[in-house]
């Protein structure tokens, strides 16, 4: 699929083109939602809202090549909103989930790793490490200078190194 062409067609009001884009990125959206939200129903709510917002706003996207970055950012924002709304109950369920996992590194989920990060770093990490999006794209989409992105990624790298280190107590994976 020629993504840029399809994005441009969607921007010109073609509903089918927009549907094609969402279907193309469905798995990526699921990965983002799964990495940020524990509850499947919440993930569904987040993706529904994200699709509607993207449909409303796709014409505003100035650079069609950034569609994926932009879509993932909308979804990530929705996930955070839902996470905040549920924050009290989520904290309890997260604790239970982590406690019940014991030493089970196999049970470590992306969400737990990301929860080790400062909130402003989570989206960057998802975009940069999980979706391999270039710093330039992220910078344009988030309207944050490239230098700031790099500096935040450096901070995230340190926090992730701590979270992923193969030592007792860390959210290890090996």
């Amino acid at each position: 699929m020629d993504l840029i062409k399809v994005v441009k067609t969607a921007q010109n009001g073609d509903k089918k083109a927009f549907i094609q884009l969402i279907q193309y990125f469905e798995k990526d959206m699921y990965k983002v939602a799964k990495s940020l939200l524990q509850n499947e129903a919440d993930r569904c709510d987040a993706v529904q809202e994200a699709i509607l917002k993207a449909y409303e706003g796709v014409w505003q996207l100035r650079q069609p090549e950034y569609f994926k970055t932009w879509l993932m950012k909308i979804l990530a924002n929705n996930c955070y909103l839902i996470h905040r709304k549920n924050s009290r109950t989520t904290v309890v369920s997260e604790l239970q989930a982590i406690e019940s996992s014991g030493n089970g590194y196999a049970e470590v989920e992306m969400k737990q790793v990301l929860d080790c990060l400062d909130e402003d770093l989570k989206t960057l990490v998802v975009m940069y490490y999980l979706h391999d999006l270039p710093v330039k794209n992220i910078s344009e989409t988030l309207a944050i200078p490239e230098g700031t992105i790099k500096s935040k990624l450096s901070k995230a790298r340190a926090q992730l190194s701590e979270a992923l280190k193969p030592e007792q107590g860390g959210l290890c994976y090996e």
């Binding site: 062409k5 509903k15 569904c44 100035r62 650079q63 950012k73 309207a143 790298r157």
Partner: protein, 375 residues
């Protein structure tokens, strides 16, 4: 001190964790995606808004060529003498650009496409570039699908250095018209919006000496083709200079410091910049579907400047053109107040005020109305 992993190590570890879970989309998630897609409404007002913007440059009349002298004699011989692109693309907005146009006349050819930066106009915040794009292979209008006759897409990047400030801007779409079987003539608008307040050009003194501009284009769309074939990747790089000309002298900036209360929070109108090219309104407000925000629902949509009715003191309606978020932080909550700037078409020179009102379709009276003095 803990070992810091490299990007590759982190990527590998995170991907391992990610792949371990359900990489297959769950049926519940898939169903919700499908249900949402099936229930998508037809386009609403936002599409019309885009159509309005496109319409600014959609209907043109060709007029006879008027030669102007190029300020860059080195390249002047490279192009036919045809005069200002803005003059050719004759509508009111482009006529204004023509009043401030400076000839450049630099051409670059790559992959069978010759791009000429024919002229530029600059008001300190927006650079208008008049392009002539010549395709080696001729075509007929039948070759161009409906809806693609008035635009060419480009991957472009304009870089300016003003003092210590380095600014970047993109047009992405060049609006105009095909003028013969090989040629498209159009206008690219580059808004110099820096998210960092310190980099904003209002706060930067435009120097007397010319400002160096570097424009790089790496893709031009050939609308006769579809799919990847339509993207002609090449190298069209230009260097030209912007001068402190009349357009900048004719800019007026006021700081009204007026605010209006809405049910979702306060809208603060901080700065209005009236230039020959546009009317920029800098304001702070709770989120609406702006670039970077996307907190959208019908109730809040009247906060969106795209549906504001903005008029000058003659009653002329100023049309929405573009909007940008300002500030280094992306909004997280719909309650977050993010400064932003919205660009409307130009007000009549000498206007004493602009009036802004906004309402939803179902409203009988505006949700808010504010008069902003320009004196």
């Amino acid at each position: 001190m803990s070992e810091i992993y490299t990007d590759e190590q982190i990527r590998k570890l995170l991907n391992k964790i990610n792949e371990k879970g359900d990489v297959e989309v769950s049926p519940q998630f898939h169903k919700r995606v499908q249900d949402t897609l099936n229930s998508l409404p037809q386009r609403r007002s936002n599409r019309k808004r885009l159509a309005k913007v496109s319409a600014l440059v959609a209907s043109f009349l060709m007029i006879s060529a008027i030669a102007i002298g190029s300020l860059n004699p080195t390249f002047a011989t490279d192009i036919p003498v045809i005069g200002s692109v803005f003059k050719h693309l004759n509508n009111i907005q482009n006529s204004i650009y023509d009043d401030y146009a400076v000839g450049v006349g630099e051409s670059q050819t790559s992959k069978g496409i010759t791009v000429t930066v024919n002229d530029v106009a600059f008001d300190g915040k927006r650079v208008i570039v008049g392009y002539i794009i010549k395709f080696e292979k001729p075509f007929t209008f039948k070759d161009i699908p409906d809806g693609w006759e008035d635009k060419i897409f480009a991957w472009d990047e304009l870089k300016l250095t003003i003092g210590r400030n380095r600014l970047k801007a993109y047009a992405n779409t060049i609006y105009g018209q095909y003028t013969d079987s090989n040629t498209f003539m159009g206008v690219g608008k580059y808004d110099l919006i820096a998210p960092n307040p310190e980099d904003r050009t209002e706060d930067v003194t435009i120097p007397q000496q010319p400002i160096d501009a570097i424009l790089k284009i790496s893709m031009i769309s050939d609308n006769r083709k579809s799919g990847l074939d339509s993207e002609i990747k090449g190298k069209w790089n230009f260097k030209f200079q912007l001068t402190k000309d009349n357009a900048i002298a004719d800019v007026k900036v006021v700081e009204p410091k007026i605010s209006v209360k809405t049910e979702f929070g306060e809208i603060k109108f901080n700065k209005v910049r009236i230039s020959p090219f546009s009317t920029d309104i800098e304001y702070e407000a709770p989120q609406d579907p702006i670039l970077g925000g996307y907190e959208y629902n019908d109730d809040r949509s009247y906060l969106s400047p795209g549906i504001w009715v903005v008029t000058d003191d003659t009653g002329k309606e100023l049309k929405w053109e573009a909007e940008y978020g300002l500030g280094l932080k992306a909004p997280k909550n719909k309650e977050d107040i993010i400064p932003r700037v919205v660009k409307f078409t130009f007000a009549n020179p000498g206007s004493k005020y602009i009036n802004i009102s906004s309402k939803l379709k179902s409203d009988k009276s505006p949700r808010f109305e504010v008069k902003i003095p320009l004196e």
